[in-house]
Amino acid sequence: MTGGLTGRGVLRVVWLPGSDLLRGTCHCGAAHVAEGPVEVWEWLLAHPTGHGAGR
């Protein structure tokens, strides 16, 4: 059993407990909460556009 990924370029999407929301975290540390996977991947892959203050 291994844990999650630990590389430097990892993008992470967590399904927030008790909600239907997804929080995407870029490898740069910026984060964004979205209502679905298409939106969260679009935001993560737009790096660095849109990155900065998370919400």
Binding site: G9, V10, R12, W15, V38
Partner: protein
């Protein structure tokens, strides 16, 4: 007249390693299998190494894997006109004349036999790097017992990738085997390593019903901890690290986990053609080692589950193939990993984001 050229892009990544067979399938006899649209002839030489060359005679394209073609020592003799080739693909004899044309050579493929699989490189041979063959060491490692098989799938390989990256379907398609209500109900965490090209999807069920697949193999019953960690290395290798334990039993801080049961469910997803797939599956366990009854049970159960997927995906392929291009689909939270996998596959084929379904 003005011509219009339509270029159909393949959905199958090239310059990649693909599983062509289990090592046990390749002996000192001719074995043909199509991988990524390329018919390949395999055999094991007397020295014990697997060789792979084109399965078409250069003369009139007769399949060398088909009788009356035959293997004579380490040379293959075409059953149609007798062209004879060595293990490196070079032609050594043609009928009726002494001179062998210089171009009489079968394409040779790079092969690596590892972790019970025979991997073949599809693409530019000069780009093949054996160190990049992804690993599934449990399949033939001491301390593990493995059952395995392969089922033909009459669907494009991307549908199997979608299927395996979203295990919420276990609840609906595989109820009574591996599906319980908690699988679809439990949120997932999805990670992508952009540099390594790996998708990881984790679903940790700390209080779940024990499905028959695990109840009868481990002896646990009632409520269990069930952790599913998917690790997909596109395009071919998929691993599900499955951990089953009594409620509240977690791994130690040092990583030891003696009171849990570990199952490594491995799939090799190999395109046969644009619309058919070789669905290799294996189940390795670190308990009940060598217990034939448990092996028989897990083999029968997993094959049944695979065939449930095959039946569903065969139907889906027929539906998708008949639809016009551009039909919309809808993705929700459970698809986070599947969308990541599609994107990495699209990157490997140079076809944009891959976020929407692509036509082969």
């Amino acid at each position: 007249m003005t011509g219009v050229t339509i270029v159909l892009m393949s959905s199958i990544p090239r310059d990649q390693w693909y599983v062509a067979a289990y090592g046990r399938e390749i002996g000192q006899e001719l074995f043909g299998r199509t991988v990524c649209g390329e018919p390949i002839l395999f055999w094991r030489t007397r020295a014990g190494t697997v060789t792979a060359v084109s399965d078409r005679c250069v003369h009139r394209r007769f399949p060398l894997s088909e009788a009356p073609s035959r293997l004579v020592d380490d040379q293959v003799l075409c059953g149609y006109h007798g062209f004879t080739y060595g293990a490196d693909g070079g032609c050594v004899a043609v009928p009726g004349q002494a001179r062998v044309p210089r171009t009489a050579r079968l394409r040779s493929y790079r092969v690596v036999e590892r972790d019970s699989f025979v991997w073949v490189w599809i693409g530019d041979p000069d780009a093949a790097d054996a160190s990049r063959v992804p690993r599934a060491p449990w399949l033939d490692a001491p301390g593990w017992t493995t059952v395995s098989g392969m089922e033909p799938l009459r669907a494009r390989f991307g549908l199997l990738v979608d299927n395996l990256l979203d295990l919420s379907h276990e609840t609906y398609l595989h109820g009574g085997y591996i599906g319980t209500p908690e699988v679809a109900a439990t949120p997932i965490t999805t990670e992508v390593d952009e540099e390594a090209g790996v998708v990881y999807v984790s679903r940790r069920m700390d209080d779940a019903e024990c499905p028959p697949f695990y109840a009868k193999s481990t002896g646990l019953s009632g409520r269990i901890m069930r952790w599913q960690d998917i690790e997909y290395t596109p395009p071919c290798l998929y691993k599900l690290h499955s951990r089953i334990a009594p409620p509240g039993v977690r791994p130690g801080a040092d990583g030891s986990d003696p009171d849990a049961f570990h199952v490594e469910v491995v799939y090799a997803i190999t395109p046969e053609t644009e619309h058919t797939t070789h669905d290799f599956w294996a189940v390795a366990r670190d308990f009940a080692l060598g217990d034939q009854g448990v092996s028989d049970f897990l083999a029968e159960q997993n094959r049944t589950v695979v065939l449930q997927d095959v039946a569903a995906l065969d139907v889906l392929e027929r539906v998708i193939a008949a639809e016009p291009a551009g039909c919309q689909e809808l993705s929700i939270n459970i698809d986070t990993g599947g969308l990541a996998a599609r994107r990495l596959l699209a990157r490997l084929t140079g076809q944009g984001s891959g976020a929407s379904r692509r036509r082969a």
